[in-house]
């Protein structure tokens, strides 16, 4: 069973859990995701891996309460177990294949938005440990919704905090922060954006303007996560790709974001109905 070992609420709606999943932990690499099914009646929910520890046999997931299924996941307490945790799925980030020599000359800028901030962490950590220069822009609506800022301080060269309302750090969105940095003379060899689809779309537009190559991590709808259902199909460079097995990371310049956003919202109506009728299954027993 996949026992929850620790749990903390990072914001009122975002929860971090460390879960026992030895097989997943020993195979996981930055950029990959896993699927959680909370209990027998639950959905299979893809979540990006926010950290992993092969020795301890644990993976860390960060979940935002959005609908009925994410509420269920968050309702679990340490000592309880999820029915299923399967992974790691998808391909690891491209840089995982690079040697330290190759990475030494690179300067990465990560643009992290909302709950997407958490999966940025293992990537930044890996790059930092393998000799690349890494800066991180963390954005949120307001200061209380910022997550992972302390964690990043230990593993990146420069951390830039942005809030839409100016309550902490730069007053504005992450892309505006990036434009400011480049205007001030920073030079980046690659950007990586992880966050809401709309934020990744605008990060891509900004990077195209600035001439920075960009990688995005698509959180498409999925059922199995192994290439079987095709729910996650996206158009990349004019070709149909499956985000679960050929992604989740793609070249941002090539992604058809408008289609990806439409496809992501396919079950909005059903999800809203489910949330309305949802009775959280707390106390469901072990």
């Amino acid at each position: 069973m996949f026992e929850i070992l620790s749990k903390e609420m990072l914001t009122p709606n975002i929860c971090r859990m460390k879960v026992s999943a030895p097989r997943v932990a020993s195979a996981a690499r930055p950029g990959q995701f896993l699927i959680v099914r909370a209990d027998e009646k639950g959905e299979r929910i893809p979540l990006t891996i926010s950290d992993y520890d092969a020795e301890e046999g644990t993976v860390t997931i960060v979940t935002q309460k959005i609908g009925a299924s994410s509420s269920d996941i968050i309702s679990f307490e340490p000592g309880e177990s999820f029915a299923d945790v399967v992974g790691p799925l998808g391909l690891a980030s491209d840089f995982v294949k690079c040697s330290s020599e190759e990475l030494a000359g690179r300067h990465y800028i990560f643009i992290a938005g909302g709950v997407g901030t958490a999966p940025v962490y293992p990537q930044v950590k890996w790059l930092h440990e393998h000799g690349a220069a890494v800066d991180v822009i963390v954005g949120a609506r307001t200061r209380d919704l910022l997550i992972y800022t302390d964690e990043f301080r230990h593993v990146c060269d420069n951390l830039y905090i942005c809030t839409d309302d100016g309550s902490e750090g730069f007053h504005g969105v992450g892309t505006a922060m990036l434009e400011k940095l480049v205007a001030e003379g920073e030079h980046y060899t690659r950007a990586v954006a992880i966050g809401p689809m709309i934020m990744m779309k605008f990060s891509t537009l900004t990077c195209r303007k600035l001439g920075i190559p960009i990688t995005v991590s698509l959180n498409s709808l999925m059922v199995d996560g192994t290439g079987m259902c095709g729910a996650c199909r996206v158009t990349v460079g004019g070709k149909v790709r499956f985000a679960c097995v050929e992604g989740p990371e793609f070249d941002g310049y090539e992604v058809d974001f408008d289609e990806a956003m439409r496809r992501q919202g396919q079950y909005k109506q059903e999800e809203a109905e489910a949330m309305e009728h949802h009775v959280c299954r707390i106390g469901r027993g072990k």
Binding site: R23, V24, A27, R37, K41, G42, E43, R44, A68, S69, D72, A83, D84, V85, V86, G87, P88, L89, V223, D224, T226, G227, M228, C229, G230, A231, R233, V234, T235, V240, V245, E259, R262, R263, G265, Q266, Y267, E270, E271, A274
Partner: protein
């Protein structure tokens, strides 16, 4: 006198009623019906039914036992060759195999071999299985579908320590995620078959995606498995490559069926959503297309099957086509989609099709469909389900050194199931591409014998 009895009809749920529920369509025979039907068998000296069975079930022998009322004896005969009789009795294409070869079929109707097999599997008491003492050798089986279950059962009986690694959270493979409840009830029929495999001491570890969670190399080098059987099926859905296929409301049959079968989306107490809408077009003519169509119907939609050839060429089992027609599915034959049309919000609004006609026979002897110029028309629809077949998943072949694949992504294996890598065997759809449950089961058993031979000579 035996041939004067006509084929005993099987009782079924009324089409109008069953179109609104997911309970099994066919009730199957009761004891009297089964014994009466069994009495129709002529016990041919040269039983053509048996040679037409991919695994060579001794059909006249089990029918003889059944005719005399010895259901357990009949089960023991079937068990010599088949490990999933309750499944095969329900989903095998009998009309092209055993029943298609039955001599009675020449002048009247063939013996209902499938229904008899189903009766025996459902009503026999648990057979006593002889199991050899443990030989201490471990074998890994990848995939818990028909090929994997059959291979694992045999190896476990012979004393091997078998672990099945299943990628999904439930075992059964296509029997679990693909074939709907109304053809193969999960909690009764499938669960019982899976329990039998578990009772042999086979361990099933779910949630392990071999190629991702662990590789074949790790299983062999670090976890002590002396041989591996790959029965990972053909899981990747095909699409047509026509414009509009990524519109909202276009699904692969795999997705639609997995949501409904594995995730139980048809039950309000399960959280996974499914959307059929008011009208559905299912593209394709195989069993999976019939399953998707009849599932959509049960979810409340008006359903059309869109197929480019004629009804005579439909590759689905006759019984499924017949059941689909009875339930009110509309068959749009000689019709081929050319584009999925969307509304301003990116949702499907219609399927643009072209009329086809059958042209000259091709190399295979089948008359191939050719488009009728200028005959394009639109079928208004909310949902399009693509059911065009599947191909093997490259997750394993791409992460295992020394495993050759064909141009179509199928694993290369010889007649015994041996792949190009020593100690690794394969069978079922992973080798052949999408085929049938019985062929996969047969391949699993063949590979089990090859694995046994390989390990004894190590």
């Amino acid at each position: 006198m035996a041939e004067r009895i006509s084929r005993v009809p099987v009782r079924e749920q009324d089409p109008k009623v069953r179109a609104t529920n997911f309970e099994e369509v066919s009730y199957g025979y009761n004891r009297e019906e089964a014994m009466l039907e069994a009495s129709r068998c002529l016990h041919c000296k040269n039983p053509r039914c048996m040679s037409a069975c991919p695994v060579g079930v001794r059909i006249p022998d089990f029918i003889e036992k059944l005719a005399s009322g010895d259901v357990d004896g009949a089960a023991a005969v079937i068990a010599l060759d088949s490990s999933l009789p309750a499944v095969c009795g329900r989903v095998c294409p009998q009309e092209t195999q055993c029943e298609g070869s039955c001599i009675l079929g020449v002048k009247s109707e063939p013996v209902a071999i499938g229904k008899l097999e189903r009766f025996v599997a459902d009503y026999a008491s648990e057979p006593k299985v002889e199991k050899a003492p443990s030989n201490g050798m471990k074998v890994a089986v990848i995939g818990s579908g028909p090929a994997g279950l059959a291979c694992a059962s045999d190896l476990a009986k012979w004393g091997y320590g078998v672990t099945i690694f299943e990628a999904l959270h439930k075992s059964g493979g296509v029997l679990q995620y693909g074939i709907p409840e109304f053809r193969l009830p999960k909690d009764t029929v499938l669960a019982r078959e899976l329990d039998r495999v578990a009772a042999l001491g086979v361990r099933i570890e779910t949630d392990v995606v071999v190629g991702k969670t662990v590789t074949i190399d790790q299983l062999m080098d670090k976890e002590g498995f002396k041989a591996v059987f790959v029965g990972s099926g053909a899981g990747l859905p095909k699409f047509m490559g026509i414009p509009g296929e990524n519109l909202c409301g276009v699904f692969s049959a795999n997705e639609f069926l997995t949501r409904n079968n594995l995730m139980k989306a048809f039950r309000p107490d399960y959280l996974t959503p499914i959307r059929a809408g008011r009208k559905v077009c299912v593209v394709g003519g195989g069993n999976v297309a019939m399953d998707a169509a009849r599932t959509a119907l049960r979810l409340g939609a008006e359903v059309h099957i869109v197929y480019r050839r004629t009804e005579a060429e439909l590759p689905a089992r006759r019984e499924e086509v017949h059941h689909a027609e009875q339930e009110g599915i509309v068959f749009d034959m000689l019709t081929n989609p050319v584009e999925v049309l969307g509304d301003e919000k990116g949702w499907v609004r219609a399927l643009r099709c072209i009329r086809m006609e059958l042209g000259e026979p091709d190399e295979s002897g089948r008359r191939s469909p050719v488009p009728v110029p200028g005959s394009e028309f639109e079928i208004p629809t909310e949902t399009v389900i693509m059911s065009l077949g599947t191909s093997p998943n490259p997750l394993i072949s791409s992460t295992t050194g020394g495993l050759e694949t064909t141009r179509r992504g199928c694993l290369v294996a010889d007649e015994s199931g041996a792949t190009t890598r020593p100690g690794v065997f394969a069978g079922g759809d992973a080798v052949t591409g999408a085929a049938t449950v019985i062929l996969a089961m047969g391949a699993g058993r063949t590979a089990a014998r090859a694995i046994d031979k390989y390990l004894k000579n190590l």
